[in-house]
Symmetry: C2
Subunit: 304 residues, 2 copies
Amino acid sequence: MTITALAGGVGGAKCLVGLQRILGNDLTAIVNTGDDAEFYGVHVSPDVDIVSYWLAGIADLDRGWGIKDDTFRLVEGLRGLGEEAWFSLGDRDFATCVLRTGRLSGGATLSAVTDEIRRRLGIETHIIPMSDDPVRTRVTTSDGRSLEFQEYFVKERSQPSVDQILFDGISEAKPAPGVIEALTAADRIIICPSNPLLSIEPILALPGVKNALREHPDVMAVTPIVGGQAIKGPLARMLRDLEMEVSPVAVASLYAGICETFVVDEVDAELAEDIKEFIPNVIVAPTIIPSPDDSEALARVLLA
Amino acid sequence: MTITALAGGVGGAKCLVGLQRILGNDLTAIVNTGDDAEFYGVHVSPDVDIVSYWLAGIADLDRGWGIKDDTFRLVEGLRGLGEEAWFSLGDRDFATCVLRTGRLSGGATLSAVTDEIRRRLGIETHIIPMSDDPVRTRVTTSDGRSLEFQEYFVKERSQPSVDQILFDGISEAKPAPGVIEALTAADRIIICPSNPLLSIEPILALPGVKNALREHPDVMAVTPIVGGQAIKGPLARMLRDLEMEVSPVAVASLYAGICETFVVDEVDAELAEDIKEFIPNVIVAPTIIPSPDDSEALARVLLA
């Protein structure tokens, strides 16, 4: 069975770990790049790196992002020189970004260097950044400011009330080579339990992607909302800011028309009927996956 | 008394430490940039940084270059990703280079960012890179290769026999703002015990510098050769490759016409008469300066 998954950061990465255990290189992950940014002269690709580090088994599992046992000597050095350096980047993590930036300035595409890093880290899953073209998520706040995503997410710790989420460059961006093919060829498409507004929406907004999902007969989405809370990240707050319910039903409504199946957590089993207003099939399963074994158990449900 | 010193790497830096102790901000150091290079996407300025770190009191005194107690996590990370990464750069040292590179790509000159780093490190001595224009030292070897300086010096550990030393870009380069003024205004100019072929020659080769030294009435050079050996670095080997004597006399011959005084070590006192064939005045003093106190003692001789 071949699976193509859409993923963002930690939630997506944790879900992919179990899928990779079963599928090996029959798994392809298409990863959001709207969070990408330039810091300290390097191209940072947070979601792609989170996914890569989790799949390579080197992720910092507590923090979610970055590499385990990493140090932060370089950014500490910048702070020692008087720089604000509010974007933390571990030294090993920085090495990934240095390699990426060197390849990009040598003319490589983001997808080519992502694949090179994947192979060097010994990862079986094919990892494709959603686009080789720059797409930059931007958040406008209810107090009238326009923030780059990392400013909103890291510097301001997702505190500002969100008015609108924009994807700069999306209208000129094309899906990376292999994205549409991987969607079309997959036996099943899985939308990981990533933030639908920040991580999945930019992928869906690329030309041809939403259509590929609509035409695919077997698209499954896993809820990132469990028991009225986001498993991780600012999704719950954002849904409230945008006057949506913090509920799997709200997420299902966002995926109406592109999904055949929605996977909801056991604690939200009673919402199945409401979800079916938007998505025809509902699976109830344990979706909280603290360990790789839990992730593998969820993967077995998703592949059934 | 105001002093302007010409300096390269470790030998120059050690000498400047004692001078700074006595002179504070009456000292200006003009530093070689021929060793500058791009590594890992950052502008590395080895001699400028060595001088800055020694004067800030944060240098790794054993290694000579870099910052004490620095780690090498980033370059180790690159090696872990399969890169050769033969140019070692500490993580804190890398932070200096990231700051410099950011400022340069924002339009700042090398001399402006060097001064910014100097102030941030709390250094009293004025530090001026010899030029804001790129000058790149290149070594041609007797086996017919043309190596960038760091390839020769670091990657090949100064092992190849040197045929010629070239300074790419020197004919288009101008001295950095303040260089000629600092030379002309100084009560005394001191040529530090740096490698004359690699560190001092590029500075002298910039338009107007040699002339400023010729016209200055009080230029003093300190020998980098003691007892038939170079205090540090590949100078002895290079002199042999170029069929010159490994002797303070050979160094004095290189500075003939631009120096009034040559400082030779006590162990080479008997060479004073030979040196006077090239430079009129010879001072005999202890020139090996393992500690800052030794450097200060030498500085008192140089300022007498």
